[in-house]
């Protein structure tokens, strides 16, 4: 991520140290992850110690300190989805993408993450790809859904 883009986000928040999390969230949503150089720049501009930024960035699940793939898969493992077969769905997605939860494949195509509830239990089991919800999923349907993403 280039310096100008980071600086633009920081300036939008008047370089306020109290806006740290907002700044990090915006960088996260633009860049999909927080590289070390970016955090160093934020630390310098906001006058927040690097240790503090590292603590916060590693604390919240919304932030990623490792690169993410172009498409993010969130697989619901909540109770309703679980009893409706989410573990089998997870096995299928793992087989198709070749990655485990928390990992990103070598082509940077998919990142897989399990979540605890997406809030639409009636649609279980639910898989979310890039924020788009795919409800009432079946292991046999996953390949059809995932092939739409390049």
């Amino acid at each position: 991520m280039d310096k100008e883009r980071i600086d633009r986000i920081i300036d939008k928040h008047q370089s306020e140290a109290s806006s740290l999390i907002q700044v990090l969230l915006e960088i996260q949503s633009e860049n999909h992850w927080l590289p070390k150089e970016t955090l160093e720049r934020v630390s310098e501009k906001l006058q927040v110690p690097f240790t503090r930024i590292q603590h916060i960035a590693s604390f919240y699940k919304a932030f990623s300190l490792v690169p993410k793939g172009r498409h993010e898969i969130h697989l619901c493992m909540g109770t309703a989805c679980h009893v409706r077969g989410a573990p089998r769905l997870l096995d299928m997605v793992q087989d198709l993408t070749g990655i485990k939860p928390g990992e990103t494949d070598l082509d940077m195509k998919f990142s897989l993450e399990t979540v605890n509830c997406l809030g639409c239990c009636a649609l279980g089991p639910v898989m979310e790809v890039n924020g788009k919800t795919h409800g009432k999923m079946l292991p046999s349907k996953t390949a059809d859904v995932l092939k739409n993403y390049e």
């Binding site: 110690p49 690097f50 240790t51 503090r52 590292q54 603590h55 604390f59």
Partner: protein, 204 residues
């Protein structure tokens, strides 16, 4: 300056407003065990070993002495069956992380804590935060900080800062109750060598 009178272990103790129970007890010569307390640092309340029983409106409540501010007519007990039981449990939980720490072993002997009570999870760090807070508050270098959260939380040195600041300081080393800090430092140094040298440049 108004004097606040309170009772600690049946002894009348005078304290200034804003003092904590721990400070008031220390002034009265009553000792309360601590692990994460340091006089130069802000109270943190991480280890909970200073837990005492404070009676507020004649209701006893367990509070951390290093954080709880004194108030008029407060009745504090620093040893009781309930407190000893609580401290024993806290010690047993800490000992699962650092079974060989001398500071913990001494307290364990006093409170009869069994270091094998819980399954070992040898992280060696008890998250007292002394190193992190000392580096931030006293030295203002922020070379060491916490990373991650919950059961995965650990301390970590920032190599870029440590390589410049730590060699001639190392003031946090004697603060660590378990030596986990020294291990973290050596690990960071080893991982960074030879790209970043932690040793000071030789004088010509």
């Amino acid at each position: 300056m108004s004097q606040i009178l309170l009772k600690i272990d049946g002894k009348e103790v005078g304290a200034r407003e804003g003092m904590t129970i721990l400070e008031a007890a220390e002034r009265a010569g009553i000792s309360i065990p601590t692990l994460c307390h340091h006089e130069k640092l802000e109270p943190y309340g991480a280890c909970r070993i200073c837990t005492v029983e404070a009676e507020i409106d004649s209701r006893p409540k367990l509070v951390a002495a290093c954080l709880y501010p004194v108030e008029p007519n407060l009745v504090v007990r620093t040893r009781s069956e309930k407190i000893d039981k609580t401290r024993k449990m806290i010690l047993q939980l800490l000992l699962a992380h650092a079974p060989d720490a001398p500071a913990l072993q001494d307290l364990a002997k006093e409170y009869g804590a069994d270091k094998d009570r819980f399954e070992k999870e040898a992280s060696f760090c008890i998250h007292c935060g002394l190193c992190v807070r000392y580096c931030a508050e006293v030295k203002k270098k922020n070379a060491v900080g916490f990373v991650d959260r919950g059961t995965r939380r650990e301390i970590g040195f920032i190599p870029e800062i440590s390589s410049k600041e730590c060699w001639n300081c190392k003031e946090c080393f004697p603060l660590c109750p378990t030596s986990a800090l020294q291990a973290a430092y050596v690990l960071t140094e080893a991982l960074m060598t030879p790209a970043i040298s932690f040793k000071p440049e030789k004088e010509e």
